[in-house]
C-alpha cells in the first residue's frame, strides 16, 4: 500500500526565518521522490513537517488527500528514517525492528516472525540478538530501514540515510534501496544533498535552495533542462559563461559574450527574455567536443591548462579568454594525442546541448 503526499503552500518559520517557504509539490503513490539541496536548505525541516514533528506555519500537508494538521506523528501513515538513524541503543536488533508492532500490542510470536522476515529481507541474518552498538554502519542502516518498514507504512521518509557510509557501501545501498522500494511498493521520499544519489535512485526530484523549491521534474529533465542557474550548477557540473542577449526567438536565443556569440536554447521562456537581458550560458563538460571531429552550432577558442584522467573519460581544464575557465570531458576512446598543456584548440557544442538562463544565484562549488 502506498499513499500520495501533497504539500500546499507549505511554509515553516523559526522566528522570522523561513526554513521552508511556500512549498508546493504533489508526490504520487508508489513514487521514489527525492528532495535535493545543499546543507541547511530546509530538507529535514520539510520531512519533519510531513511526518508531523514540525508544525507548518502556513499551508497544509495532505496524505492521500487527507489534511494532516490535526494528526500527530504517531497516527500518520508515515515512517521516518532519521538523519542519525535514532536506533534504540538499549534494545536488540530484533526488538528495534519489531518496536512498532510491540506498541500496537501485537503478540510476541507474530512480532518475532515479522522481525525475522525483515531481517532476512535486509540480509541481516544472525544479527537479530545483537545490540545496536555491535553493528557496522551499513548494518545499522538496514536495521533502521527494517524498523521503519515493520508496520508497512504507506510513506517512507528517508533523511540522508546514506551520508555516514563509505563510498562503496553507499553505492551498494543505493541500488538496494531502489530494489527495496520496488519490492515493497510504497512511496519513498528521500532527502539528500548528493545529486548523484538523487539522480540514480529517484523517479522525480525537487531541487531546493534556501527553503524554496527551484525545480521539480524527472531526473533527466532536471539535468538537461534546468530552470534556474542554481539548478544548472547544483545538479551535475556545468560551465557558465555570462553575457547579453542579442537575438531572441520563441525557444532560441543568441548570447554575446567576451569570447564571441553563441546560439543556444531557451527553456520555458514564455516571452520572459528580451534583447539586452543579462544571462548565463550553461554548457555541460560532456556536451563539449573537439571541434575538428564534427559540425557544431558553436565553436570556442580555448587554451588547454591541465588534464585529468578519470578512466572512462578524460577531463580537460582550459582557459577561455583571459580570466575564464572551462572544463570539458572527452570519452577515453577519442584520440587526443595532439592535445597538450598549452595548446590552443577549438571545441564546439550544439545549441540543443546548452541552455541560456536569466542571471541568478549559482551553487557554490563544493
Amino acid at each position: 500500500m502506498s499513499a500520495s503526499v501533497e504539500l500546499k503552500n507549505a511554509s515553516v518559520t523559526f522566528g522570522n526565518f523561513y526554513a521552508a517557504k511556500n512549498i508546493n509539490v504533489k508526490i504520487n503513490g508508489g513514487e521514489f521522490f527525492s528532495f535535493l539541496g545543499p546543507s541547511g536548505c530546509g530538507k529535514t525541516t520539510l520531512l519533519r513537517a510531513i511526518s508531523g514533528f514540525q508544525d507548518l506555519s502556513e499551508g497544509e500537508v495532505l496524505i492521500d488527500g487527507v489534511d494532516m494538521s490535526r494528526i500527530g506523528p504517531n497516527k500518520r501513515p508515515t515512517s521516518l528514517i532519521f538523519q542519525n538513524l535514532a536506533l534504540f541503543p538499549l534494545m536488540s536488533v530484533a526488538d528495534n525492528i519489531s518496536f512498532s508492532l510491540e506498541v500496537r500490542g501485537v503478540d510476541k510470536k507474530k512480532r518475532r516472525s515479522r522481525a525475522n522476515e525483515l531481517i532476512e529481507l535486509m540480509a541481516l541474518d544472525g544479527q537479530g540478538e545483537k545490540m545496536v552498538h555491535q553493528l557496522s554502519g551499513g548494518q545499522k542502516q538496514r536495521v533502521a530501514i527494517a524498523r521503519a518498514l515493520a508496520i508497512e507504512p504507506k510513506v517512507l521518509l528517508l533523511d540522508e540515510p546514506l551520508s555516514a557510509l563509505d563510498l562503496k557501501l553507499r553505492q551498494r545501498m543505493r541500488t538496494e534501496l531502489r530494489a527495496i522500494q520496488k519490492r515493497v511498493n510504497i512511496t519513498f521520499i528521500y532527502i539528500t544533498h548528493d545529486q548523484s544519489e538523487a539522480l540514480t535512485m529517484s523517479d522525480r526530484i525537487a531541487v531546493m535552495n534556501e527553503g524554496e523549491i527551484e525545480q521539480i521534474g524527472l531526473c533527466a529533465d532536471v539535468y538537461n533542462k534546468p530552470l534556474t542557474p542554481f539548478v544548472a550548477t547544483f545538479v551535475g557540473e556545468n560551465n557558465s559563461i555570462d553575457g547579453k542577449l542579442t537575438e531572441v526567438s520563441s525557444n532560441e536565443a543568441t548570447i554575446s559574450t567576451e569570447n564571441g556569440s553563441f546560439k543556444s536554447c531557451l527553456n520555458n521562456s514564455d516571452g520572459k527574455y528580451s534583447i539586452g537581458d543579462e544571462v548565463f550560458l550553461f554548457i555541460r563538460p560532456e556536451a563539449l567536443e573537439l571541434a575538428k571531429n564534427g559540425n557544431f552550432d558553436n565553436v570556442i577558442d580555448i587554451n588547454i591548462d591541465t588534464f585529468e584522467f578519470e578512466g572512462n573519460i578524460k577531463n580537460y581544464f582550459a582557459k577561455l579568454g583571459s580570466n575564464k575557465k572551462i572544463k570539458f570531458s572527452i570519452p577515453n576512446s577519442v584520440d587526443t594525442s595532439d592535445i597538450h598543456s598549452g595548446s590552443n584548440i577549438q571545441i564546439g557544442f550544439n545549441k540543443l546541448n546548452s541552455v541560456i538562463l536569466k542571471k541568478g544565484q549559482l551553487a557554490v562549488d563544493t
Binding site: S51, G52, F53, F99, V103, R104, D125, G126, Q127, E129
Partner: protein
C-alpha cells in the same frame, strides 16, 4: 631527574590524600576495639569486643551501652532507615517529574523553573527544618483531634517531609544531567513508529533513565540517613541515628559509636567488593554470550573463537589472605601478652580503681589536714578580711 621528582611527589600526594581521607576512619575503627570507656588509641587498655556487645558498667555503677545493647541507638537506626526509605519513595519521582517538566517547558520559563527547583539546596537545612515544624505546628493546632493534629506532631512524618524538600533537588539535578544527554530523536523515532507518549515514557525514556534512578535512589537514601541539621528540628521528640549520636557526643561519647562506625565501614567496603565482583561476572557472561552468538549465527570468516580469560581470583584473594595473616599474628601477640579478655579488663579496671582510690585518699588527707588546721585554732581569718587573700585557701 625532574621526572623522578614528579613521580615521587605524585606518590607523596596520593599517600597524603588517602591518609587525609581514610586516616580518621581507620583511627576511629581501631578505637572500637579498645576496652577503655572513651574512644582512644593511647593509652591502650585491652583488646575487647565489648563495645560491639554489652558495653560496660562503670565504677560509678552506671551502664555504658555497647552497640547491640544501646536501645536509643537501635531505635534511631531503625527510624533513620524508615525515614530514608520513604524519602527515596518521594524524592525520586518528584525529582524525575521536575526534570521532565524542565525538558518540556517553554525555553523562556526554563531558567526560572530551574532556579526555583534548585532553591531548596541553597537554603540552609536548619531553616527548612524549622519552617517545616512551624508550619505543621500551626496546621496541627487547627484541630485538637484527628489525623492533622496527629501527623503534625509526628517527628518522623515531619522529617520525611522536610528532607524530601531538599533531597528531591539532588534527584532533580541527577536526572537533569542524564536527560541532557538524551537523544531526543529516539523519542521522535518511537512516536513515529506509532508509540503513544505513555509508551515512549515507559519503553524508551525510563529504561534510559534507569541508571539515574538507581543512583538518585542511593544518593537520596544516604543524604537522608546522614542528615542532621534539618532533622534535629523536624524530628521533635523522636530520634534518628544522627540525632542520637549527636546527643551522645554532648553527654559523653563512648566507643560504641566507634563500633557503629566500624560496622558501617565494613558494610560499605563489602558492598563495594561484592558489587565489583558481580559487575565483572556480568560483563564476562555477556561477552561469552556475544561470542557464541556470533560464532553460531554468522558465516563471516572473520569470526573466530576468542578465549575469554577467567576471572582472576588470585590477586584479590591473596590480598585478603595477607591481611588475615597479619591480623592473626597481631592477635596471637595480643593473646601472648595477656592483652585480651576479661582478665585483662579486670586488671586494667582494678588498676584504675586503685588509682582513683589513691587519689581520693590523697584528697581526703588534704582535707583532713585543713580540718586539723581549723581545729588547732586557725579559724580562717587571721586578718581583717578572713582568709580570702590567703593563697593557701585554694590549694589542695
Amino acid at each position: 631527574m625532574s621526572n623522578r621528582l614528579i613521580n615521587y611527589s605524585l606518590i607523596f600526594y596520593i599517600i597524603t590524600f588517602f591518609v587525609f581521607l581514610f586516616g580518621p576512619l581507620i583511627i576511629m575503627s581501631i578505637t572500637a576495639f579498645n576496652s577503655a570507656d572513651f574512644p582512644r588509641i593511647s593509652p591502650w587498655d585491652c583488646l575487647s569486643f565489648r563495645w560491639f556487645n554489652e558495653g560496660m558498667v562503670d565504677y560509678v555503677g552506671q551502664h555504658q551501652a555497647g552497640l547491640l545493647t544501646d536501645q536509643k541507638l537501635k531505635e534511631g537506626f531503625y527510624n533513620s532507615i524508615f525515614i530514608g526509605f520513604f524519602v527515596v519513595l518521594l524524592t525520586v519521582p518528584i525529582g524525575l517529574a521536575a526534570a521532565l517538566v524542565l525538558t518540556q517547558i517553554n525555553p523562556k520559563l526554563r531558567e526560572l523553573f530551574y532556579s526555583l527547583s534548585i532553591m531548596p539546596v541553597l537554603f540552609p537545612g536548619v531553616i527548612i527544618g524549622i519552617s517545616t515544624v512551624v508550619l505543621w505546628n500551626r496546621l496541627s493546632g487547627l484541630s485538637d483531634e484527628g489525623i492533622l493534629s496527629e501527623v503534625g506532631r509526628n517527628g518522623i512524618f515531619l522529617t520525611i517531609l522536610a528532607q524530601t524538600c531538599f533531597i528531591s533537588t539532588y534527584c532533580f539535578l541527577i536526572f537533569v544531567a542524564r536527560l541532557q544527554r538524551f537523544d531526543r530523536s529516539q523519542e521522535e523515532a518511537a512516536l513515529d513508529l506509532g508509540a503513544t507518549q505513555t509508551q515512549v515514557f515507559f519503553k524508551i525514556l525510563l529504561p534510559y533513565l534507569a541508571p539515574a534512578i538507581g543512583s538518585s535512589a542511593v544518593i537520596a537514601f544516604l543524604a537522608s540517613f546522614e542528615n542532621y541539621n534539618t532533622t534535629v528540628f523536624s524530628i521533635l521528640s523522636d530520634r534518628t541515628l544522627t540525632t542520637v549520636i549527636a546527643s551522645k557526643v554532648r553527654l559523653g561519647i563512648t566507643p560504641a559509636i566507634s563500633a557503629l562506625a566500624f560496622a558501617i565501614i565494613v558494610i560499605t567496603v563489602l558492598a563495594v567488593i561484592i558489587y565489583e565482583f558481580y559487575k565483572r561476572r556480568v560483563d564476562r557472561l555477556k561477552k561469552i554470550e556475544e561470542q557464541t552468538l556470533l560464532a553460531s549465527q554468522s558465516s563471516d570468516s572473520r569470526v573466530q573463537k576468542i578465549e575469554i580469560p577467567k576471572i582472576n581470583f588470585i590477586k584479590p584473594l591473596s590480598f585478603f589472605i595477607i591481611i588475615a595473616i597479619i591480623l592473626s599474628i597481631l592477635f596471637t601477640q595480643v593473646l601472648k601478652n595477656n592483652l585480651y579478655g576479661d582478665a585483662c579488663i579486670a586488671n586494667v579496671e582494678e588498676e584504675k580503681k586503685r588509682k582513683i582510690e589513691e587519689q581520693r585518699k590523697l584528697e581526703e588527707e588534704k582535707f583532713k589536714l585543713s580540718e586539723e588546721d581549723l581545729q588547732s585554732g586557725n579559724k580562717g581569718g587571721n586578718s581583717a578580711f578572713g582568709d580570702i587573700f590567703n593563697s593557701d585557701l585554694f590549694e589542695y
